[in-house]
Amino acid sequence: MQKSEHSWHTPKEPSYKEIREMANNTWEKMKKNHAIGGFAIIITGIIITAFLWWFFGGFWFGELPGVAILFIGVAEILYVTYAAITDKKSTLLHMGLLVLFIGVAGYLSFASHVMLGTLQIASLAVMVIGIILLAIGTISAPKT
């Protein structure tokens, strides 16, 4: 059997320190994207909300897509700020903020009408889930 000219090898396992450095480097790039993207999402949300507000002739839950996008942008910026202040960042934390603010957007939209009590309660439940995720994310995220 002819032997291959190339030998198989296992790459060297990075050390914990190297992984931390890689993560930090990635985060340095990512936080800028989160911040700029957050503002872009907020502006998009405002435009969509304004259009829907005009189209429907008032504020009601029809504006939910615009308001939700706006608050996703807010959540992105808060994530960057939160991570910068606490030095903690994790997917769970990020998700917690997103869920929390989607809940806030839902509540803001559904609060405009008495017939939507059930959806208001559902939004509050989403907010609570968001807060729980946020808390777990904050506790479990390693300090970088």
Partner: protein, 676 residues
């Protein structure tokens, strides 16, 4: 450094808390609500991007049912910097509905419903303005529902239902048994009589028979302020100069000397949508149509469906030509019918105190004429009449009884569906034999009417089942809400009213009113005998037997007859082509003889046999099935409107979280209903 971080953390936490807390306490409705101040709510019908005009009219009708004064601007007006054309609806507050609901709650409900039903723009102004208007009177419609109305009655019912008009179905028998102004007669409870298209309906009022009194009743009804809407054949019968000598409301002539083939078959080529010119855009019936129309399809020429209705000439003094036939769209009209362009297609007329609107073409068919039809009804309804759909007494059924009815309705619908499905498939096979070709001299046309009924009935059975499940859920919700408003008799009465309407719906399904038509077993020409029809339904669940009868007849009688006719039909077509391409006197003679055999009246040829067999089946479907389904749906639609505003008033009183609690309780009891 740690102090700065701590401050930042505090600011961040405070910011997030502020956003959440503000969202929890933000319950302001940013819409302009009445807040006790007089307001005018304006529904601009021309905003076609944001307003669905059919749904806007349905909303107006729901308000009229509640006794809310709705005004119809008869001229253009300006308020708050916006100009609104004639035909705009507006509602002034304050008012109180006939069930004691305040204008604030009612108009908030209207705005809510408007949003949900794609009427996305209702302008609200506090400024006062003056405009020449008509205070609308809700059209209480009697629709002639007879074998001579064919599919037209179905199309009318569907159109009226979509617009929120509640229809009473009446046959010749209903129209003669009591005088027009006698208590309990259908005409006494109505303010508009609608005669749809079809055959000449006066076959149903034969001279010398008691039914002929019905004609006198209709005439007196209109003379004394009632409205008359005629469509197609219903128009022919309302003309003074057609020679029928029946209603004679409109001084106009159906000139078959110009359109020579009126009683022949060349007009068939025109069937389908065509254009009409609006001659009187300032007439209330034509608001929003014509040269200045802003909605697509409403102008400059309006598209409307045509099925061989009259073209009218020599219009007299009591009548106004509202629209004329303009041009075909894709049809290539034969010279014998070409002179109908320019003749009157829609006429408005006064007959003593009554208003009459007659249409040659069909505004009830799909297309842009729904608003036109609604306007004709608003124009001709001038005598206020009370609602016919209120519950007789505020007696309510128990939840157990309702639960039983829901179970029965669901199981009935699931039994009917496969039967109806089979009937629909067989009817489709019949239609696919192409013997119904509306452009063919021998085409029987009505096979597709049977198919239309089958298709609509399936949708309507689903509607009834959905309503039953929904009403059970709503009834349960109202029970929970009742416990929250025990100190408020007005709200308690509203709840009882809503529950009584739900009970009426279930009661109707358990006690169907009798339908008087006799289904004959033989025809005068000797066709038949058909199996005797003994499946009169007195309850919704008994309709299963009628569906079975129709299915058996369609499979065992109608399809074989249609198949036999299709063979002859194809032979006739082959000979006709041969006669045109390779003419010989022998071929011509064979063709003529075949045509005579096919169309023979006595003994009945295969053409008449097929035609009558379809009609026999159609009669059972129309009278013994659809009649009951339509009546149930009319009541169900009205019940749903009432439930909708009653629950809105209750939610306003008890708040969103209490209302949500009632919803969740009802959901736990009847989860299916919450999702419908």
């Amino acid at each position: 450094m740690s102090d700065i971080l701590q401050t930042k953390k505090t600011v961040l936490v405070l910011f997030m808390a502020a956003v959440m807390i503000s969202s929890i306490f933000l319950r302001t409705n940013i819409r302009q609500s009445e807040n006790g101040q007089p307001r005018t709510y304006i529904i601009p019908m021309e905003d076609w991007i944001r307003n669905d005009d059919v749904n806007a009219i349905r909303l107006v009708n729901a308000l009229l049912e509640e006794g809310v004064p709705v005004y119809w601007a008869l001229e253009e007006f300006t308020v708050g910097g916006s100009t609104y054309p004639a035909g705009t609806f507006y509602i002034k507050t304050p008012f109180t509905t006939r069930h004691g609901v305040s204008s604030k709650v009612m108009m908030d409900w209207v705005m809510w419903q408007a949003k949900l039903t794609r009427v996305w723009k209702i302008d609200v102004t506090a400024q006062s303005f003056t405009v020449n208007s008509k205070e609308l009177i809700l059209p209480r419609i009697v629709l002639f529902y007879d074998k001579t109305t064919y599919e037209n009655a179905l199309m009318h019912y569907l159109r009226f239902r979509s617009l929120g008009f509640k229809t009473v179905l009446a046959n010749a028998g209903d129209l003669y048994t009591k005088a027009w102004n006698e208590s309990g007669s259908v005409l006494n409870e109505a303010n508009v009589f609608v005669m749809p298209g079809g055959a000449v309906h006066f076959w149903s009022f034969p001279y010398g028979a008691p039914q002929a009194w019905g004609i006198g009743n209709i005439t007196e009804f209109v003379k004394n302020g009632g409205g008359y809407i005629g469509v197609c054949a219903g128009t022919v019968e309302a003309l003074t100069t057609t020679g029928y000598g029946y209603c004679e409301f409109v001084n106009a002539y159906m000139y078959d000397g110009v359109r020579q083939d009126m009683y022949a078959r060349d007009w068939k080529i025109l069937q389908g949508p065509l254009y009409i010119n609006v001659e009187q855009p300032n007439h209330p019936v034509m608001f929003g149509y014509g040269l200045g129309a802003s909605r697509p399809g409403y102008g400059p020429q309006t598209t409307i469906y045509y099925l061989g209705g009259p073209a009218m000439y020599d219009v007299g003094l009591n009548a106004t030509v509202l629209a004329t036939y303009a041009a075909p769209i894709t049809q290539e009209a034969m010279s014998t019918v070409s002179n109908q362009w320019g003749a009157a297609a829609v006429i408005g007329a006064d007959y003593y105190d009554g208003k009459v609107v007659v249409f040659g073409p069909h505004p009830e068919y799909p297309g842009p004429c729904a608003r036109l039809y609604a306007q004709a009804l608003y124009y001709s309804a001038n005598v206020p009449k009370p609602s016919r759909l209120d519950p007789i007494e505020n007696g309510v059924m128990s939840e157990t009884a309702i639960s039983e009815r829901v179970g029965t309705i669901k199981s009935t619908v699931s039994q009917i569906k496969p039967i109806l499905d089979e009937t629909t498939r067989t009817t489709s096979k019949i239609v696919n034999l192409r013997i119904g070709d509306i452009y063919h001299p021998l085409g029987i046309a009505v096979d597709v009417h049977l198919l239309s009924f089958c298709k609509e009935l399936l949708a309507q059975l689903n509607d009834i089942q959905r309503y039953a499940v929904k009403f059970q859920y709503e009834y349960s919700k109202l029970n929970v809400l009742k416990g929250m408003v025990q100190n408020n008799p007005q709200l308690e009465n509203l709840i009882e009213y809503g529950q009584a309407m739900i009970s009426s719906f279930f009661n109707l399904t358990a006690n169907l009113p009798p339908e008087e038509h006799v289904i004959f077993e033989t025809h005068w020409s000797g066709i038949g005998p058909f199996p005797p029809f003994t499946e009169e339904a007195t309850k919704f669940e008994e309709l299963v037997n009628a569906f079975k009868y129709v299915n058996n007849e369609t499979t065992a009688v109608l399809y074989p007859t249609a198949k036999d006719f299709a063979e002859v039909f194809q032979e006739y077509n082959r000979l006709r082509i041969q006669n045109q391409t390779a003419y010989t006197p022998e071929v011509n003679a064979t063709l003529t003889e075949l045509f005579q055999n096919i169309t023979s009246q006595w003994p009945a040829g295969i053409h008449l046999q097929t035609y009558y067999t379809v009609f026999h089946t159609l009669d059972v479907v129309q009278y013994k099935i659809a009649y009951h389904i339509f009546n149930i749906l009319t009541l169900a639609d009205r019940t749903m409107e009432i439930i909708s505003y009653v629950e809105f008033a209750l939610a306003t009183a008890v708040g969103p979280f209490n209302y949500a609690y009632a919803e969740i309780r009802a959901f736990m009891a009847h989860p299916e209903g919450a999702f419908l």
